[in-house]
Every structure is written in structure tokens, then in C-alpha cells.
Amino acid sequence: MSLELQDIHKSFGPVRANDGVSLSIEAGTLHGLLGENGAGKSTLMKILSGFISADAGRIALDGTPLTLSSPRDGIRAGIGMLHQDPLVFLPFSVLDNFLIGSGRRLRLDREAGRRALEETAGRFGFSFYPDAPARTLTVGERQQLEIARLLWLGARVLILDEPTTGISATQRTTLFEILRSLAAEGMIVAFVSHKLEEVEELCDRVTVMRRGRVVGESEMPAPAERLVEMMFGRVLVESEPTPPPFGEPVLEVDAITLRERTLTTSELSVSVREGEIVGLAGLEGSGQRMLLRAAAGLLQPESGRVRVRGRDLTRRGYRDFLRAGIHYLPAGRLEEGLVPGLTVAEHVLLARGAMGFFIDGAAAREDARGAIADYAIVGTPESTVESLSGGNQQRLLLAMTPPDARLLLMEHPTRGLDIESADWVWTRLLERRDRGSAIVFASADLDELLRYSDRILVFFSGRAVKALDARETTGEELGHLIGGKELV
């Protein structure tokens, strides 16, 4: 048995999420699909499960072509998908979660369902309390519930999208054991991940995706450097002219512990001086975003201290941080940075802070035109922000940050931008750096990290495992550390 995907295309507006992807997965192998966030893995798997429809391409299971126009078709064909955030109904009982969407009879036979749940769960060594609401389950248990349900429904193909996000180490071990035994039984198992070490640990074969295309395929084990290179592209570092010497410390984070949802970071410390650029490296969700948010005053540390330019701002409000010259530029530009529906001119106004009650329309337009010219934004003062491209949204966010900002905290400053835009953004950032601003940024782009940082802080599951001098490290070393390994 094998699953064949041929020449799959899928675009969302101008974005080509899948650009001619072909892939073949054999039964009995654990097949990894590796790639950074945004590489197009999830889109591909959602197409395979019927959740979204491809624009073009062919899918065949065991030589039989499949038409997947809804998840219902996927389930009928025996394709089961475990979504990254397990799609369970939190207030419903475990049993109801197990039963919903199964069977056609009107009567809901919970007793038969309970027996089926216990039997299926028993096969894999899961144990559930069928009447507990699903919200009391850990993420790992929710996954186990979904796996049990999919197999009970007769899935022959199991797709797991980033299944290790938010589960414990023990649960991960259990999960991997189960996947191995399922593959050994002759099932088709596709394991989607951006975590190199997991693919290395688990998979027999791996396909690497980048920017909507398949960029490589390999039997496992394979050298990590090669996989990293496929994932991130070749690292070409040109060294930048030596920056001016650093000044006084702007931000001093002293042993803070942060807690958000499932992740706890322990005892993070970092100090950033004027004119310094610190890059935060690591797989997504390793604690970089939390550190940025804590440094911006948006996330309160449970312990430790945060000092800004010598003043202790621990547990002070976000606006005190703003006043101290700290600015946070989030990755979700339209979600938490800009206000869809408002124009460029209105954003420039909002960012200028309190300057009188009335708005001088002409001056505001002039101001906006100035920002548009300075930051080369393609748009007019009257353009609404959602009509701007991602690059122009980022330029606007930069334009909204006051020139005298002491510290810029940026999350993926160039994500989704074309090379030209990205270079341009960095030119402006370096200008600010030369004038004495400090910059801390998180990125998934090794090239960007190596090229622009003075120091790189590598995160792994909530800890800053290593601080590197960017001028003395290599893409290879960084790739290893990101994957959770020390270079021996």
C-alpha cells in the first residue's frame, strides 16, 4: 500500500502555500515531513485529509485516485488527521468526543461506545475516564483520544501535524512507540514537524519542504547539517562593518521565570546595551516570544527582575515600559500590531501619542506622507492597512515606532517579506542601531540571525541554552544548537 501525491498546488491569494508538491509515502515506513513554519507542510496535510481543497494535483491511495472534497471523504478513504491543536470539544465528555461524528443511527448508544473506547484505548495502553470533560485532559491525552478515535473509525493513513507541541516527555515517548508499532503493522504514518531531532529520532524517511516546495528527500539517518541546510537554505554570511562600541545597558533581565499556557521558562537572564543587536534563535515556541513579551512589560514574570536603563520596572504596566522607550513589534502584524479598517494616516496619528485633542487633518496627512516617503511604503495616507502587503505593513509598524525608541523588541521582523523588503527593513534597523537604539529580535532565519546579531541567544524548550558571539559561530553550530544538541 502506498499514498501518492502528485503536483499539488494551493494558493491563498498571492501566497503559494503549495507549489507543485509531489510526495510518495509507503506503508510500513514512518515518513517525516520536515520544514520551518510557513513551509507549506500543514497546508499539504490539510489537503490530504480533505480539510481544504487543492487548486490542482492528484492524490491516490494504493493506486486508486481519491477525490477529497471534505473531511468526510477523507474519513471514508481511511485517512485520519491529528491536528496540531487536537480538535476536541473541551466541554464534552471524553466519551462524547470519541463518539461524535461516528455512525449514522439516531440513537446514541453510549454503553457500546464506552466499551469500544475502553477496548481501543486498551490496545495502546491509554487510559481514560470516559465521563470526564475533555478540558481536564492534557494536550497529550487529547491526542491519545484522537488517535484512538481515528483508528477506531478505521483509519489506514494517519497524519500527525506537529504532534509533540505541548506534550510531556513521557507522552512523547509513548506516542513514538505507538507510531512505530502502527507503522510496523503496515499503516501509512506521516509525521509533520519542524523539529529536526524528533524526525531524526523517529522517522525512516524524511521529505523536507521550504517555501511551498519539496526541496529534498532522504533516508534516515542523515547528517543533521544537510537537513538544516535544506530547511533554511544555504547560509551565506557577509560580515557587516564593525558597529560602534556599545553604550550603557538598556535592558537588564535578571533570572526571570515566565509561565504561559503549557510552557514555563526558567531563570532567563540577558542584558542588552545601547547599540547592540541580540538575536533570539530556536524552534518556534521555545520561549523567545515570552522573553520579548516580558521585556515589553506585556507578560509579568513570576520571579526575577526587569530593569530598563537602570530603573526597576518589574511588574510595572506595559505603558511604563512604553514611556521608558521600549517598543514591541509583534509577528501578527494585523492581529496585534495594526488595526484593520484604519488608514495609514490614522495609524501614524495613533502612534504619535498624546499631542493635543484635535487632529489637524492636513498636518496628519503630511506626517503620513513623510512616513510613507521615509519608509518607502507602497500606499497612500488613505490606504487601509489590510490593503498593504506584508512588507509594507512591517514598514508602517517601523514608521510608527518613534525614532528615539531605546529598545526595539521584534518578533520575526522579516517573516513573509521578499528579499528586497527584508534588506530594506534591516537597513533602517541598522541606522537606528547606529544612533544608539538597541534591538532584540527573534527569528527562524539563520542567515538573518548570523548576519545582523552581535550576540545570539539560543533557546531550547524554555531555556536559553547558549549565548554565542555571532562573529565566531557558524550556521552549522547554530543549526545543531537549535535542534537541541551541543556541538561536541
Partner: protein
């Protein structure tokens, strides 16, 4: 005492239909805010049709049809046009009220047919319970049926579980092969039809006859009771009966405070809202969290997907 309870049960029957109907609609994730107008217009329609044809049954059917039609509009605007359910529901509420006044003008003050009383043979003879519950008419029995069937359907059938799934987390329901938007149309219309039946129950049974503003405020209070009822048909029905008790008590006080009859008639509405606010209070939530047995009784989490649209892209 039995007579009093029997009166309350009978007078609450119309509201029971409405709250069970809206509970079903909201369980599927749609807010039909037009209740006030739906009940009013279907009360008028039900009476007019029954008066013209002489058939109470046709009156109820026409009223259900009106309710389903308005609900279909809410669903269409939300699902196909992605419009705000609140806005559309609100406009439809006001429009339907005005329509009921205009179209109902010729029927004001007319004597029309009403639902006949039919004691249920054996059950009516049960001491006490029989007198309270089983010496009514078909409309009242129908309201019991709505509660029981509504409850069993929502919590004990496969389709009911799917309906809850659609309202709770549409993408998860979709991933399980459930046609989210088709079910939303269906259950919004079923809920609307029940609200329509509530209207007919007012004009053909509880309040006998039609006049402008016959059901004023009952639609709004039905919306509040659905929340009070924690999206459970039985608890919602309990809320409707509680409201019936308050209304009855207010009526009893009228001879005592003759000058205050107007305010007494209005009193149950704010009282009901206060009850709702109480349920919202943290105190009760904590209580429900600490004692799982109370959870069914006190918890009031709305379906998570309430009021949102599902687009697959």
C-alpha cells in the same frame, strides 16, 4: 394550590416553547436575536389564520412557518453573507413587531378559536400531579413534549451531539465529516419554528386573541432565560416556569396594591435579569467548579462558537 400550579404551568407553556427553541438555535452556534419580533408576528399570524380558517392546527402551522422563515433569514445572512447575527436579528425583531401591528389590525379584539382542553385519560386522575399537569390542552402538553424531546435530542442522540459539536467548535465538527452550515440552517429554522409555535400558543391559548403588543417583552426575556438556563432545555424550561411564578405572584399582589398593577406586571422582567446576572457572578462559577454535581445545575458556559460564522475557505 393545585389550581394555582396548574395555572402557572399553563401560562408558562408559550414561553417554554420559545426558550427550548432558542436553546436549540444557540446550541448550533447561531444567535437568533429576533425572538421578540418572531414571537409577536407569529402570534398575530397564528391567530389570523386560525380565525380565518377556523382551524387551530393551521394557525399553529402558519405560526411555525413564520418563525422558521425569519430564522432562515438570520441563518442566510450569517452563513452566506457573513453579516453580524446581532444586527440582522435586531432589525428583524423591530420589523416583525411593526408588521404584526400593521397586518394584525383587522384582527384586534376578535374572538377566535382556541385550543381545546383535553384531560389525558389516566394521568389526569393521578392525585395532585394529574390536576397540575394533565388537565390542560394540547398546546400545554406540546410544551412538555418540547422540553423532553428537546432534552433527549440534545443530550442523548447522535444528531444532538453533532448539533452541539457544530456550535461548540465548528472546525472540529467539520473535521469529523459534519456539514456545519447545513446543520446551522436546519437548527436555526427548527428553533425559529418553535418560537413561532410559542407565538401561536400566546394568541390561541395563553392570552386568547390578538392585540397590538400582545407578547411585548416575552421575546427579550426568552433570550435572557436561555442564558439563565445554561443552554440546557430543562433548565431553560425551569427558568420559564420561574418566570411564570413571578408573573403569577405579581398578579396576586395587584388587588393588594391596586395602584401598582402596572409596575407589578413589569416586575418579573428585571427580576429575571437580576437572576441572570447572579448566575454570571464568580461566586456561582466557583461553586460549580468546586462541586461537579452542581455543575450541571449552575454552569453557564455558552457554546464556544456562538455567534461566529464558519468559513472553510
Amino acid at each position: 394550590m393545585e389550581a394555582t400550579l396548574a395555572t402557572i404551568v399553563a401560562s408558562a407553556s408559550a414561553l417554554v416553547y420559545a426558550v427550548v427553541g432558542e436553546t436549540i438555535t444557540e446550541k448550533a452556534g447561531v444567535v437568533n436575536l429576533s425572538m421578540e419580533g418572531t414571537i409577536m408576528l407569529s402570534a398575530m399570524t397564528g391567530f389570523a389564520v386560525a380565525y380565518t380558517t377556523g382551524s387551530v392546527l393551521l394557525g399553529f402551522l402558519a405560526a411555525a412557518g413564520v418563525g422558521a422563515l425569519i430564522a432562515a433569514l438570520v441563518a442566510f445572512a450569517s452563513i452566506e453573507l457573513r453579516l453580524n447575527q446581532i444586527a440582522v436579528g435586531f432589525v428583524l425583531a423591530l420589523l416583525a413587531i411593526e408588521l404584526s401591528s400593521f397586518l394584525g389590525d383587522p384582527y384586534v379584539g376578535q374572538h377566535g378559536p382556541s385550543v381545546r382542553a383535553v384531560p389525558i385519560p389516566l394521568l389526569a386522575d393521578i392525585p395532585y400531579v394529574g390536576r397540575v399537569l394533565f388537565r390542560h390542552n394540547l398546546s400545554v402538553y406540546g410544551s412538555y413534549l418540547a422540553i423532553v424531546v428537546g432534552y433527549l435530542f440534545v443530550f442523548h442522540t447522535r444528531r444532538g451531539l453533532e448539533m452541539q459539536g457544530v456550535g461548540e467548535r465548528a472546525d472540529a465538527a467539520f473535521a469529523r465529516g459534519i456539514d456545519v452550515n447545513r446543520l446551522r440552517y436546519l437548527y436555526t429554522m427548527v428553533g425559529g419554528a418553535l418560537a413561532g409555535i410559542a407565538g401561536a400558543a400566546f394568541s390561541l391559548d395563553v392570552k386568547l386573541g390578538w392585540r397590538e403588543g400582545l407578547t411585548t417583552n416575552f421575546g427579550w426575556i426568552a433570550l435572557a432565560i436561555v442564558i439563565f438556563g445554561g443552554w440546557n432545555p430543562i433548565r431553560a424550561a425551569f427558568g420559564a416556569y420561574l418566570f411564570g411564578v413571578l408573573a403569577w405572584a405579581a398578579l396576586q399582589l395587584q388587588p393588594v396594591f391596586p395602584s401598582a398593577s402596572q409596575i407589578l406586571a413589569l416586575l418579573p422582567f428585571p427580576l429575571m435579569i437580576f437572576a441572570l446576572v447572579l448566575v454570571y457572578l464568580q461566586l456561582f462559577r466557583d461553586l460549580a467548579d468546586r462541586h461537579p454535581i452542581w455543575r450541571r445545575l449552575l454552569s453557564s458556559d455558552p457554546p464556544s462558537g456562538l455567534g461566529t460564522a464558519f468559513h472553510r475557505e
